[in-house]
């Protein structure tokens, strides 16, 4: 599943990720694209608390932040 959370400020990207993850089965992945620089810390922090795995997190040349999350069990 892909999620466009660009131009949203904290904590909306986390809220959108939370809503999206609730629809995934364990092992499914979510790719979220953000522009808020804090997303690189907050989304992984939220995932740690919820038991989800960060597969990859990167900032693209465009400035977009892309985070791939695998749903925990």
């Amino acid at each position: 599943m892909d999620l466009d959370a660009r131009y949203l400020l904290c904590p909306m990207p986390v809220i959108r990720v939370s809503d999206a993850m609730a629809r995934l089965a364990p092992g499914d992945t979510l790719t979220v694209r953000c522009t808020d620089p804090g997303a690189l810390r907050d989304i992984p922090a939220w995932c740690r608390l919820e038991g989800h795995e960060i597969v990859a997190a990167r900032t693209e040349p465009s400035g977009d932040i892309v985070i791939i999350i695998r749903a925990g069990g």
Binding site: R6, Y7, L9, C10, P11, M12, V14, I15, S18, T35, D36, P37, G38, R41, D42, A45, W46, R48, L49, E50, G63
Partner: protein
């Protein structure tokens, strides 16, 4: 005595007091989860970190940081629409600006009560301290929050509990009242010492967590309402009030002008909603035009936009004007001289 593990939902703001209140519950073996309501007016490091020149600052959600330190789940819940009635029609009025603190607290505790009931939790915990805030944290307003939220005596304030009547969790022995605190007043040294003992980091200072307490922000919000002739707002309105310079050079429109690259990038997300302006041949800001501008107004908006770009000293500057429908044209203007930028245009 009921020996099952009781569950508390803590209103976790990300500040020091709620962090400690949650800790006191964990120390008593209570199952604790955090709840954090996003009203749209919450001040977060991120809001400022959109500006790239401020990215060395702490850029993370304070409530999440608290939850991580506590090792508890955090439920961040967006309440923007539901919160409008609190902002627009506060039963108990405003504080110094547009801050409806008492109504806000009752609203949030009320939402936490609903959540508690839906999720089978036993009581609600807040980090409120008697006498710390002038509106919502007084001996006479604590009961107002308990009553209007519907939480009644399932609302526990561990930091001041010894100064208050015993609540249900204390009377039933779910928590040991003897291990709660009796803090009061605005002196935060005891909390700071306690945080030090636990090795906690926390956001500070208290009281700076809501844009509705901010004079500059609320001036812009009042201007928005005045320009519309009615008190209403949507999510994008209140987000945009946090970003950029806001100038109203004409009663019918205002400009939101990015102050640096990060803000320009954020404002780009609104190009499909507003007329937007940007110098075509010089580096400079992106400006959104909110309202209606005729030809003369557009020329003025372009001249102002050029004023804030690197072409400000040029005799003339080409400014691209884009519309939400994707159409675009250019206007050639003389950048507005600094002395023509009226002080009272700034919101």
């Amino acid at each position: 005595m009921d020996h099952r593990k009781h569950k508390a939902v803590v209103l976790l703001s990300g500040g020091l007091d709620s962090l400690l209140a949650a800790r006191l519950m964990l120390d008593q073996g209570i199952h604790v989860e955090g709840i954090n309501f996003f009203t749209g007016f919450c001040v977060e490091g991120h809001t400022h970190a959109v500006r790239r020149d401020r990215q060395d600052r702490q850029v993370r959600n304070s409530a999440l940081r608290s939850a991580e330190q506590l090792g508890i789940r955090l439920h961040i819940i967006e309440v923007i629409d539901a919160y409008k009635d609190v902002v627009l029609n506060p039963r108990h009025g405003y504080g110094a600006h547009l801050n409806p603190c008492l109504d806000c607290k009752a609203f949030m505790v009320g939402r936490a009560r609903s959540w508690m009931e839906e999720h089978g939790f036993d009581f609600i915990v807040t980090g409120e301290v008697l006498g710390q805030r002038p509106m919502s944290q007084r001996r006479d307003t604590f009961p107002v929050v308990a009553r209007e939220s519907g939480a009644w005596d399932r609302l526990l304030r561990p930091l001041s509990a010894k100064l208050l009547a015993p609540t249900l969790p204390e009377r039933e022995g779910w928590v040991d009242r003897g291990r709660l605190l009796g803090l009061s007043g605005r002196n935060r040294k005891p909390q700071i010492a306690l945080a030090g003992a636990y090795g906690y980091e926390y956001a500070q200072p208290a009281g700076g967590c809501c844009f509705l307490t901010d004079a500059n922000y609320t001036r812009k919000l009042r201007d928005l309402w005045a320009s519309r002739g009615e008190r209403r707002y949507d999510f994008d309105d209140i987000m945009l009030l946090k970003i950029g310079r806001h100038l109203r050079p004409h009663p019918s429109f205002k400009l939101i002008i990015g102050r640096e690259e990060g803000e320009n990038r954020f404002l780009e997300g609104y190009r499909n909603r507003f007329v937007h302006l940007c110098a075509a041949e010089y580096n400079g800001p992106l400006a959104l035009l909110q309202g209606d501008a005729d030809d003369a107004g557009l020329d003025l908006a372009c001249a102002i936009t050029a004023r804030f770009g690197q072409g400000r000293s040029a005799a003339s500057v080409r400014v691209a004007v884009g519309r939400p429908d994707g159409s675009r044209h250019e206007r050639v203007v003389a950048p507005l001289p600094a002395n023509a930028l009226a002080a009272d245009w700034y919101l």
